[in-house]
């Protein structure tokens, strides 16, 4: 069996098609056959990447070489020189100075395969997570010592700000700035909270960190406490993560034994205590104000903001809330400095990101790679390709509240900036890869069912909006949809987005918006033709829908 050595992408946006890109594509097909390269070269189409000066455009991986404009007559030369002999055809290269957009970053790496770079997961799987000695041998608590003995709180926050670290919980807010907000509020009592309520479906990066390297989070929380002026921290761990809870409790005990938590750490007079608080199964508690409510022994219903937790958080005191992955970056940044950290990732999103890969791929799991890797690279390199060679239909990035990305966007670098520009959310870093045997309507119905269930019920737009959206999509799923339903969904997007009290309602619309934006034709086929193009949705066309079964009482069964 021959392996794929090259991937050729031919631009296929409307402008390119007008300028003859389909002929280029056809010529590639015949030339590849002529050189007997069909099995070694994958041919695919490329969406508009904003290079209208160089279309029709051809991009060849793994070097990420951009050629353009290309006429059908050029194809023979490209196939012979680049794909057959392996030489780059300089005279056909797209003008380099104007190289912008998604491929620029990939190209800057000069064809090297982006290697895994472990900062957050540095010690995971290498040390014994229950041994504090193991952690200390691997540079553990060195950063805390450095901070307490040789740095002022302002210096710590400056280092952090210079590193460009952004919150890894999904929003991507600059961490250094958040710390400064909390530090700037005068108060004798402040709190640091680690948000380990990782309930985003498809995300388990925090679990891997907590189970594999619990001390790194304790160290980072103590550093945060010193920087913002807090002496008490809470680790809010979701109820389902029993092993992580056990290891954290043990780690806190051991850190106390070693004098690394508690009173006067490193004899500096700095005190810091950490409590583990266990959740009880509520997705909404990942929202920081709901999490705070839950610690206070109340229902996890988000507060109205402002005031923000940075000024009025736990028990009304200024509170810093950071995600597990964000915190896990901090000891390494303190040890090695912000310049070192900026070597990884893209200029706007420095560092690495931990991704969880799942779905219809050959290899699922966790990777930590520099920011800015593309989905195509993740699928082909780390996930070892699509399962059974079925092609990619869509990917969901960032868990249930993330975006549904069509296959055409798989060359967008995954960093906060580029994704925002493309209208996609990076979210928590969950990558759910779906092949052609999945249907957008079925997927969105599953997601809405989740939101409908997890909506805390405090605000009306979210409580009722998610339910209505679920009913409409279910109708389409069962073949009873009407075209008017799409307008209805469109108006729900506005209502949920503008009027919801917290992020849950605002992100519940993302799957709907992406469905209507990228997959409208598929949805309309369900309605007007009465067929599910993937053959997934039942399309039974029943007037009577099975809501009965789905709306069973929320409180039915304990864990």
């Amino acid at each position: 069996m021959k392996t794929i050595r090259y991937m050729v992408l031919v631009s296929d946006d409307q402008e390119s098609i007008n300028r003859g890109s389909r002929d280029v594509l056809r010529r590639f097909q015949s030339e590849l056959k002529g050189f007997n390269l069909e099995k070694e070269v994958a041919l695919n189409t490329l969406t508009d990447i904003g290079r209208h000066d160089a279309i029709p455009m051809v991009v060849i991986y793994p070097e990420a070489v951009v050629y353009g404009p290309i006429t059908p007559e050029d194809v023979h030369l490209l196939v012979e020189e680049h794909l057959f002999k392996g030489h780059i055809v300089n005279e056909l290269l797209a003008p380099a100075r104007e190289l912008t957009g998604p491929i620029a970053w990939v190209r800057a790496r000069k064809g090297t395969i982006p290697a895994e770079q472990r900062i957050v997961l540095e010690r995971v799987g290498i040390i014994d997570p229950e041994s504090i000695n193991d952690y200390i041998i691997h540079n553990g608590y060195e950063a805390l010592g450095k901070v307490l003995t040789s740095m002022t709180p302002a210096q710590v926050m400056n280092e952090l700000e210079q590193s460009g670290l952004q919150g890894r919980g999904g929003a991507g807010f600059p961490t250094g700035r958040k710390w400064k907000f909390v530090a700037g509020v005068p108060s004798t009592k402040k709190y640091v909270i680690c948000n380990a309520d990782e309930s985003e479906p498809g995300t388990f990066k925090d679990r891997i960190i907590l189970e594999g390297d619990p001390h790194s989070i304790l160290e980072a929380m103590a550093i945060a406490g010193y920087a913002v002026g807090a002496d008490e921290g809470y680790l809010y761990v979701r109820g389902e993560y029993a092993l992580a809870q056990k290891r954290l409790v043990r780690a806190i005990q051991r850190a106390h034994d070693f004098g690394l938590l508690g009173k006067s750490i490193f004899n500096t007079g700095f005190n810091f205590e950490i409590h583990v608080h266990t959740g009880a199964g509520a997705y909404i508690c990942g929202e920081e104000t709901a999490l705070i409510e839950s610690i206070e022994g109340k229902r996890g219903e988000p507060r109205s903001r402002p005031p923000y937790p940075t000024t009025h958080g736990l028990w009304g005191k200024p509170t810093l809330v950071n995600n597990v992955e964000t915190l896990a970056n901090i000891p390494a940044i303190i040890r090695n400095g912000p310049v070192w950290y900026r070597k990884f990732g893209t200029p706007n999103s420095p560092g690495t990101k931990v991704y969880t890969i799942m779905g219809n791929v050959n290899q699922t799991g966790v990777i930590e790679v520099p920011m800015g890797i593309t989905l195509r690279e993740v699928i082909n390199i780390y996930a070892k390709g699509m399962k059974n060679n079925v092609s990619l239909r869509m990917a969901q990035t960032g868990g249930s509240s993330g975006s549904i990305t069509p296959a055409s966007l798989q060359d967008t670098p995954m960093d906060f900036e580029s994704f925002k520009r493309a209208g996609v959310s990076l979210g928590s870093g969950a990558l759910l890869i779906c092949d052609e045997n999945n249907c957008i309507v079925d997927l969105v119905k599953t997601l809405l069912e989740f939101f409908r269930f997890e909506s805390c019920g405090k605000c009306t737009p979210c409580r009722i909006g998610t339910q209505r959206a679920y009913e409409i999509v279910t109708r389409i799923y069962q073949g009873a949809g009407k075209m008017g339903d799409l307008d209805e969904l469109q108006s729900l997007i506005g209502i949920l987005d503008q009027l919801s009290n917290c992020g849950l309602g605002q992100t519940a619309v993302v799957p709907i918006r992406d469905m209507l934006k990228h997959f409208r034709a598929t949805v309309e086929a369900h309605i007007t033709l009465g067929v599910c193009p993937s053959g997934i949705c039942p399309m039974t066309n029943l007037d009577q829908m099975d809501f009965q079964d789905q709306t069973a009482d929320k409180q039915t069964i304990p864990a």
Binding site: T446, T556, I557
Partner: protein, 164 residues
């Protein structure tokens, strides 16, 4: 879990309160403890919690309705008893796209139960659950405390047989 139902609810609550302390932020841990011991949180337990958290040096004043609002809000708590074995199916998207639909179908057929139901003999309960964080090996089902990954519909019978 079932053998503990005979234990005195008051003593279970007392143990939980002693362990976690009578403060506002320990209300949820206390309810967790009770739910774990009894399998659910009966109304009497809520009354008992109300009384006991009032006793300490720093009394917490909380009503039964407030406690009930907690017990009914969090998914890991139940206010109703359930079967001897609880089967939970992860209904999140990652499990859904790798064959979860078929597994859920097979579960319902094997147990003759729908979501949230308990079998008449009290042996089984079936429910869906949100993501369990083991998405790399979906579809995932949870039987009591045991997690099964990469589940195929034809394995359901064999898995459930272990809990007869």
């Amino acid at each position: 879990m079932i053998n503990t139902t005979e234990r005195d609810i008051a003593s279970i609550v007392k143990e939980a309160v002693d362990k976690h302390g009578a403060s506002r932020d320990s209300l949820i841990p206390i309810l967790s403890e009770i739910n774990f011991e009894l399998g659910y949180i009966p109304a009497e337990a809520l009354t008992e919690v109300k009384k006991q958290v009032r006793k300490g040096e720093d009394p917490v004043f909380v009503s039964e309705s407030q406690l009930y609002s907690l017990a009914s809000f969090y998914d890991m708590f139940s206010t109703k008893p359930h079967g001897r074995h609880v089967v939970k199916f992860c209904e999140s998207a990652p499990c859904h796209v790798v064959g979860g639909r078929e597994v859920w179908q097979a579960l319902r057929e094997e147990l003759h139960l729908n979501n949230g139901e308990m079998s008449p003999d009290g042996h089984w309960s079936l429910a869906t659950t949100s993501c369990l964080g083991v998405c790399g090996v979906g579809p995932v089902i949870l039987v009591d405390d045991d997690i099964y990954g990469n589940v195929q519909p034809d394995q359901i019978h064999d898995i459930l047989e272990r809990y007869e």
